[in-house]
Symmetry: C2
Subunit: 433 residues, 2 copies
Amino acid sequence: MPVFLNTDDTDFEAAFTRLLGAKREDSPDVDDIVAGIIADVRARGDAAVLELTAKFDRLTLTPETMRFSEAEIEQHVARVPEAERRALEQAAERIRAYHVRQMPEDARWTDPEGASLGWRWTPVSAAGLYVPGGLASYPSSVLMNAIPAKVAGVGRLAITVPTPDGVVNPLVLMAARVAGVDEIYRIGGAQAVAALAYGTETIAPVDKITGPGNAFVAAAKRRVFGKVGIDMIAGPSEILVIADGDNDPDWIALDLLSQAEHDESAQSILITTDPAFGQAAAAAVDKRLETLERRAIAGASWRDFGAVITVRDLNEAAALSDRIAPEHLELCVADPEALSARITHAGAIFLGQWTPEAIGDYVGGPNHVLPTARSARFSSGLSVLDFVKRTTLARMTPESLRAIGPAAETLARSESLEAHGLSVTARLDRLNR
Amino acid sequence: MPVFLNTDDTDFEAAFTRLLGAKREDSPDVDDIVAGIIADVRARGDAAVLELTAKFDRLTLTPETMRFSEAEIEQHVARVPEAERRALEQAAERIRAYHVRQMPEDARWTDPEGASLGWRWTPVSAAGLYVPGGLASYPSSVLMNAIPAKVAGVGRLAITVPTPDGVVNPLVLMAARVAGVDEIYRIGGAQAVAALAYGTETIAPVDKITGPGNAFVAAAKRRVFGKVGIDMIAGPSEILVIADGDNDPDWIALDLLSQAEHDESAQSILITTDPAFGQAAAAAVDKRLETLERRAIAGASWRDFGAVITVRDLNEAAALSDRIAPEHLELCVADPEALSARITHAGAIFLGQWTPEAIGDYVGGPNHVLPTARSARFSSGLSVLDFVKRTTLARMTPESLRAIGPAAETLARSESLEAHGLSVTARLDRLNR
C-alpha cells in the first residue's frame, strides 16, 4: 500500500523527509568489470567488441556486419505497420518543431571602451546515442535523443543498439531513420560506450555520448566522461500529480500508473487538497492494477514508493513540490498556470487535466529525457544545448587595451602572475612610446 | 626544449599525435581518502569539519568562527590597497556586463494544433563556490564564478576558502564582497565540498558547487555529483597562439609564458606560418625565462609540453587548432576574424595582437573558467547557464489532445506501456462520448 500523509499530521515532516530520502535504486557495483571492458576495447578495438557481443548478446558478428547496412535497415523498416510509421513521423515533426526554437543565438557587440566582445555557438562534430535492447528499447527515446542532436547541427550521429540473439526492433530503426541518424551499430553494453568514446577500426570515435542504459552502460558513461561529453545519468522515473477534487479519479490513477509501470523503482506521488479525492484516486489505482498488463511492476512501484498527500491549500502543494523537485509534474487544478508560476524546481510541467504526462513522452514536443532524483534543483532536460558549445570572443583595440589593461596588470601582480602582467605591459609600453 | 614541428616533415603526423596525447597530469588517486572524509562529514557534520580543518590547515575553529563575520570581512577588506580595489571593481563591472547578456529567455507559444508549449528558466536556489587557499587563491576566479551565479539570480551563494595557519587573502574577501557573495567559510579540501553538498549544523546545503581545487577537491566534486550539480573538473591550463611573421616575438613569448607560469603541467603551443618567427619567439621565451619570477614552473612547462609548429598556411593552422581544441586561442594574424570563422573548437578566442590572453583572465568580460584537455570539442566555459535550469511546459486543449493523442496511444502500445496509452484513451473517450 502506498503511504497516505496529511500535512496536518503531527509527524508529517518526519514522514515526508523519509519519503524524499527513500533509496529507490540499488545499482550493482559493476565498475571493475566495466573498467576491464573499456581497457579491452581500447587495446583490441573491433576484436574485443566482437568477442564481448558474442558473449553477452549471443550474436556472432564481423567488422562488416557490426553496422546495419542500408539494405537491412530498409528491410526492417518495411515491416513497420503504417499506423506506427505515421505516429513516429508525427512525433518527430512535433519534437523537431519544439527543439528548433531552442537553438541559441550568437552575439557580438562593441562595449563603451571599444572592445569587441561576444560568443558564438558551434555544434559538436560527432555524437553517439546509446539505445538499450530488449524491453527498454524505446523508439520514442531514439527520437528524443537524436532530433536535438540533428537540430543542433551534429554532422555525424551514430547509434548503438544491442540485438540480443539477433532480435531487431524495427521501430528503433524506423525512428533512427526518421530522425536522420547516420550510422547504426548492433552492439551494446559497456563495450558499445567504449567503442563510441575511443573508436575502433570500424567505428570512428565521437565527442559526446547520450542515452539511457543499464548499470553497465551508466558506469561506462561515467568512466569515459572527460574523454567525451555525456548527458545525465538518469535514475528511475518519477511523477508528481497535484490535483484538486474536481478531477476524474481514474484519469489521475492512470497518470500515476504510467510512471509506475516503467520500473519497480519508479515513484508516483499524488498531492491533493481533497482527502476524499485522494482516497478515490488510490481506489482507482487498485482497480486498474487488477487488469494492467504490467501490474506486477506497477503494483510493486505503487506499493513501495507511491504516496498520497493531503494538503490544506495549493500554496502548501507548491512548497512540497519544490522540495520533491519532480521529473514530471502534472497540475490538474482549476488554474494550472497560476500554480505553475509558484513552482521553481521541476523537469517538465504538464498543465491542466487534458495534458496527461504520456503526451510528453511521445508527441507533445518537449523532450522526455528529464532530470530525476531531485536533480531538477540544478539541471535541465535534454535539449539542443547539449549538442552545441560556446566559444567566447574578445578583441581589443589599442584604445580599449589602454583603458582596461592597467587593471589587468594590477590584478596579475596581486596574484603573483608576472608574465600575465608583462604580456599587457609590453603592449601598453608600445602605445606609450 | 620545446618540440619544433613542421607540417612538411614526413613524421609530422606521428609527432603531432604524440603532442596531442601527451599525458600532462598524473593526479594522485585520493578517492578512498576523499570517500572517508565525505562519510565523516555526513555522519558528524561540524565536528568532522572542525577536526579536519585543525589537521590539514593547522587552524582551530569553532562552529561560531567557521564563518567570517561581517566585521572580520570589513577589517580584511580595509587592508586592500586602493589600486587593487579599483581594479577588482572595474573587472567585476566588465564581467557582469558581459554575463548579463547570457541570461536565456523564456518562451511560450501555441502550435497549429492548439497546444500551448514552451519553457521557462529559473535560478538554482543555492550555490557553493570553492576557492583554493595559498598560492592558487585567485581573487579573479572568485569574480568569474560568483558573478555568473549572481547574474543568474542564485539566492544564496556561499564560498569556502581554506586559510592554512590562519593566513587570509584580503583580496579574496574583497572579490567576494564585490561579487555579492552571501557567506564565506574558512574551510577547504574535501571536507568543504562535503559540507556544501550535504550540509552541517552551521552550513546549509547548496544545490550546485563550482570552482577549482586540488586532487582532493576534484575527487570530492566527482563524488558529490548527482546529489548536487558541479561544474567541469578542470585540467592544467593551455594556450595555442596562431601568429604570422608580422608580430613582436617578445609579445608572443609573454603570451606563451602566461600559461606556462601557471603550472608545470600547463601547455603553450605556437603555430606560425613563418619558421623564422617561430625561432625568434622561442628565443624570446628563453630570454624572458632568465628573469621571470616563476621561471622554474614556466621553464618546466615550456620544456616538457611547449611546441612550435610551422605550417604552410592559415588553413592548415585552423585544421590543427581544431584537433587541439584549445582552452585559449590567440589569433595574432592580419585578419583574425576571417581565421576565427574557420575554427570550430575552442574555449575562448582572442582576436588580434592587441588582445593578450591575460586580458581575458581578468578584465575582458568573458569567463576565464574554460574547457581544458580538448573538451572544447563538447563543452563550454562557465556561464550564467550553469546556474539556471529549464522547466519545459505543455498544455493540451481537448482539441489538441484529439489531434495528437492517437499517435501517443499508438506509440505507447508499440512500447508495451499500456497505462501510458490508457491515460490518453480515457480522456479521448470522454471527448468522443
